[in-house]
């Protein structure tokens, strides 16, 4: 299996050598090795985390993909599986953990909650999608996604990695990659990027009766 994955299709190899030799590009071998040794961060948020644990356990066995090394430390992890509801109280920590991960780093939003708020989206302490704060590579739908669905998500991520080119990936470019701003807990969750907007909106004159913007539902 591996040879076929690795071989560059443009180069012909004589049949008798196919088992022994693989000709490949740097991109390809590099991505191949990276995608087969993705170390997830041991990081569970809610119900989906239990399915993530089941994925790592014997029945679905993440180690078949080289991912069994769940790292508790963000410094050693390649992929962060955001498995569960992202709450406002938790999101500063999540962004911080993401900033601490060494590059290249990937994020999987597992389940409806992490992707877009999920069943608890209307709640006052829930962030409608972790992608509001950190870039997400793969979204896995489901509530909870079964272990097989998560595996499918991981395979989808591997495919993405295999399609990358070293010259145009953001972490191999010159200069530092900016750390993401960490949201602040005030009267509500504040994204530092929105300070100007918050000032503007809360100082608007008061034809609106309430600060709460009633979702454009004019009767």
């Amino acid at each position: 299996m591996a040879e076929n994955d690795l071989n560059n299709p443009e180069i012909d190899i004589p049949d008798e050598l196919k088992q022994q030799i693989a000709v490949t590009t740097l991109d390809r071998i590099y991505n191949w090795s990276r995608s087969n040794s993705l170390w997830p961060m041991m990081f569970g948020l809610a119900c989906c985390a239990i399915e993530m644990i089941c994925t790592a356990a014997s029945r679905y066995d993440l180690s078949r993909f080289g991912m069994e090394v769940m790292r508790p430390s963000p410094r050693q992890a390649d992929v962060m599986i955001v498995s569960g509801t992202v709450t406002k109280k938790m999101v500063p920590q999540i962004v911080r953990l993401y900033n601490q991960m060494s590059e290249p780093k990937y994020v999987i939003a597992m389940g409806a909650c992490a992707s877009g708020g999920g069943p608890f989206k209307e709640g006052y302490n829930v962030v409608p999608g972790v992608d509001k704060f950190i870039p997400v590579d793969v979204y896995v739908a489901g509530c909870p996604p079964t272990p097989q669905a998560l595996l499918h998500g991981l395979i989808t991520l591997q495919k993405k990695i295999e399609g990358e080119h070293i010259p145009d990936t953001r972490w191999y470019k010159k200069g530092e990659v900016e750390a993401l701003p960490i949201p602040i807990l005030g009267p509500d969750l504040m994204d530092p990027r929105h300070f100007e907007l918050i000032r503007e909106e809360t100082h608007k004159p008061l034809p609106v009766v309430d600060v709460i913007i009633e979702g454009g539902e004019t009767a």
């Binding site: 089941c54 356990a57 989206k121 005030g186 009267p187 969750l189 909106e201 600060v211």
Partner: protein
Amino acid sequence: MSEQTAIHPLYAQLISKFPDSVVRDDRAGFNGVVVQPLNLLEVVKELRDSLGYDYLSSVTAADDFPEERLEVIYHLFKSVGGAPAVIKVFLGREEPVVPSLTPMYPGAELQEREVWDLYGIRFANHPDLRRILLWEGFQGFPLRKDWKEPLYEEDVKPFKSRWPEGKGERKELLNPYKDNVQYPREFEPSTVSGDVDQAMYKSLEYSDDPNSRVIKTDQLVVNLGPQHPSTHGVFRMAVVLEGETIVNLKPVVGYLHRNHEKIGERNTWLQNMPYTDRLDYLAPMSNNFGYAITVEKLMGIVPTERAEYIRVMMAELTRIASHTMTTGFLLNDLGAYFTPALYALEERELILDVFEEVAGSRMMVNYFRFGGVVRDVSPEVLKKIKHLVYNRLPRKIDELDKYISANEIVRTRCEGVGVLTADDAIAFSTTGPNLRASGVPYDIRRADPYSIYESLDFDVCTHDHGDVYDRYRVRIDEIRQSIRILKQVLDRIPEGPIMAGKPQYATKVPAGEAYGRVEGPRGELGFYVVSDGKPNPKRYHVRAPSFINLTSLAQMCKGAKVADAVTILGAVDIVLGEVDR
């Protein structure tokens, strides 16, 4: 229950003893007594000391909006079993204050903080009244009915905008910040420091010995969590250490606060059922069970016989799955990295297969309905369960037992660690295996029987030392008892319908209140619901065993080594979905 119903002798006794301050709650469908806030302490003292109500199960509040009234509701039990004593206190909406019960029942500590956090009711003399699920500085008290969240649409579901003119749109995109947030008027964001833990650290300082008010140089505050491999989710403990010994500890929760109760009060009665799955996500069937029997109590319906058997069967299977998993992960916390957990998870997978077949989902089963269950259990599935119960599970539990119980490392790390005496366990309102490991034979299946448990033969497992090892032993014993129950259920399960009446999506629930409780794998899972006859609950509260079991964590950990804190937490067995709700 109208005016004519006879008053419970207990309440009559209380009223005659305190004629000025206690009156009967005579709203239709309600029971219990209403106590003047100033006399609360003496009434409760009477209850505890003379009448034997030594177990404060639940403290919660309700908002009687649009009436200008908040109420605080206490459910007290006897630790020998029986029905609750329900005490209520009525308060005004502005600056409500009620005396704290924490000095009398330490188990009220976290619950009172929760009520303060969500309702803004102040508890006088509470040792450490801070926000618990939200953070210091949060704007407003969210469970009050007049408080609206940023993505608020309507007071109750179903929302009118979904049909017949529904547009597939994302609500948050209509918010100016494209997010689920709102801010007070004329708000200046740069004035906020974002440091929300000040008060927590301060409370750690002050609850120290009086002579070490300020953390001395040899004391050290360590935060375990919220991202920590052994806190079983997003739990955080702030630990004060002297060397390696724990001097003080504060649980910090709320990192998974998903507003279950606020959403639950907007949902229709039935719509809450799948939400309860997400409370204690290791034991969804138990949650369904608790909610179903509570609402059935209010509706006055009884499930069919076959449904009762199926319910018990599923609840016991859940208990086995949950206990094996806990055991596996306790070993994980002890350093037996993953192997025992893998074995435990194998058995859990097989039980989940059963759930998947009958309910359609491995974890989020949504299986119970008011009056029965949604789907019958087919003969093939019954055969599978039989095989599990008669062959596979007993064998595997024996193996697990053999593997772990006599292991020297397990014994040295667990025996005598995290001891909770029986009196403390009751005072701290501990429930479930934690309580029984301290030698209190309190199991709701026996103490306040529900469903068909009365007719089933099983023992309440207790151990006496109240340490981590005994908590583990109780769980193993309980798995065996569950297998015993399952065998009886499988033998006796009758044929027949699985629903009383027709399945309906609009449930009619008469006005009134009900408190229902079941013995979940983590202890007493209680639901307190209030109906005003409308399609949605007026108040929906979950008495979460994991949350209340955390109250005694500091007591168990003081004096232990920091490595033991992880073990103790693993043995307390919390599920964050339930702790934070």
